[in-house]
């Protein structure tokens, strides 16, 4: 990303904007995919964020912060998408969150277990964890990206991590209980 390119895009240069976005699409889509855990919705949210970014670009105050600003656009689009889907299909989401492991005997792999634990987190905690672990932002950078105080970032990371741990441990206990029932 070059500041000159951002400034050209801010003045309405389509080519400059296309170049900026093309270099960021994979990162933006990954961010949306991780937050929403649904490829179709992630696609919608990324697309919406790109359109909003183009429309709102003249309001960007600091071209140096384009990347952080763009991340925020994606996060907000994901939140909107999450709200929209919750309103539309609250029941199915609840079922998904409360779904039990179908068979403890077939132990879930590490990836599946983390996936399950992550899906149970609220979107704001997911987002904080993604910005820290995937984009490797500092607490201050996460705060700037999300427009929230550093204390809130720490809080979301702490509760998100604690919830992940609790969820994984619950899976472990469930698997252990089933194993002992089988052997009794």
């Amino acid at each position: 990303m070059s500041v000159a390119e951002v400034e050209r895009a801010m003045r309405g240069d389509h080519d400059a904007f296309a170049a900026l976005i093309s270099g960021s699409t994979k990162r933006l889509y990954a961010l949306a995919s991780l937050i929403l855990r649904d490829t179709d919705r992630a696609e919608d949210a990324t697309q919406e964020a790109i359109v909003r970014a183009w429309r709102e670009l003249p309001r960007l105050h600091d071209p140096d912060r384009f990347d952080a600003w763009l991340h925020r656009m994606v996060v907000n689009a994901c939140y909107d998408e999450g709200r929209r889907v919750r309103r539309r299909a609250e029941v199915s989401l609840v079922h998904l969150a409360d779904r039990q492991i179908p068979d403890h005997e077939s132990r879930l792999g590490e990836t599946d277990r983390i996936e399950r634990a992550f899906r149970r987190l609220p979107l704001d905690q997911r987002t904080a964890l993604i910005l820290q672990h995937q984009l490797r932002l500092t607490h201050t950078e996460i705060a700037e990206t999300l427009g929230i105080p550093v204390g809130t970032v720490k809080s979301r990371l702490r509760y998100g991590t604690a919830a992940m741990r609790a969820s994984l441990e619950a899976d472990d206990r469930g698997a252990a209980a089933t194993t002992s029932e089988k052997s009794a």
Partner: protein
Amino acid sequence: MTRGRSDRDLGAAIEAWMADVASNAVPERLLEESFSRTFATRQVRLYPWGRLARLGRGRRSHLRVGIGAAVALVMVATVAGLLGGGASVKPTPSVTPSPSPTPEASVSASGLTRVSVAPTGAIDVVEPVALVTDGLVVWTLTGTGRAVRIDPATNQAAMSVQLGATSDHFAGIAVDRNGVWVTDSDTKTLYRIDPTSLDVVARIPAGETPKGVVAIGEAVWVADAHGGTVLRIDPSTNAVVASIAVGPTGGSGPSWVASGLGSIWVGVPDASTAVRIDPETNTIVARIVIPGPAVPCGGFAIRGGAVWISSCTESTAIARIDPATDRVVATIDLGGHASTPVLIDGVLWVSLDLGRGVPGSLGRVASATNRIDLELSLGPSFGGGGDMVVAAGSAWVIDRGNDRVVRLSLSAFSPG
């Protein structure tokens, strides 16, 4: 097995999983459809005064903003004249004289007066998150859990003490004749500190997630955000002597507490209420519904006839409560985020976070109109939205943009 896994191991597992997910290919149609929609969409149009204001972030920002405002005024006045059939243009409002050592002032087209002020002192503090005073000494709490005593006689951080682990979530700080009190949400602890030696004299278990704290001599009150309660602590025994349920458990519960008009006040965002407690009986005397867009997650300002509660970062609105009826009588959009409002000579002031890339400012809320009528600008890098207190004949404000606490003459708050 997960049990016994360290934070580092858990973090590494999360990172590996995220890297795996992030490696998914981007659908080809995503960019095509995005650009197809994008190029059929017009960008927002910025008007000249907006562009001039944006120029104001540079080194000579005050001058540029002043010129911008002047140009905007001329344009507005000219249009007004033309609409009036070419009649004489009304005189523009006179600029309020600035009390600052380097006065610069402007009046916006909306009539809002902006005055540039220069601090009379600045104390560097890394990540200041809260500011309190007993009227003589100023205390600030950092996000890493350090309580810092600022000496107004020297404008310096005279002493400090580290409380707990730097990664803990330290939320609130209060001071009274019994000591300095700090909440640590992670360890569920209320720290009591000797204000002279800065020794930690007590670590008091304080609910599930202690957050806001206020100390008023005979009692210390702590909001337990996840416990849904307000705890009363007796400073003579350092023990919790009452627990008052003010909202549901979990989530965004009781946040910040304040004392005034013979009551203890606490904001409960997950119940959309401000709760008023009688400290004589430890009972709730009113649950005041805070209507949107205000969210009762910020601090209070209290005076005879009015109580205000701000919305922290969830909203830019502040609610005004009539304490005689315990009802909200106004919801004021501040145009920016404010944490804790403060009264200076009976007039409400807020430190405003106006968004990323925009300098913060201090705003005066006119009591008669419930609107901000005066803004003090502290420079292009000032980070607003933090706490502000009055002590030793000055106002002290957290500058989150520069990791410092700045001191301002009180005369700056009553220009003309």
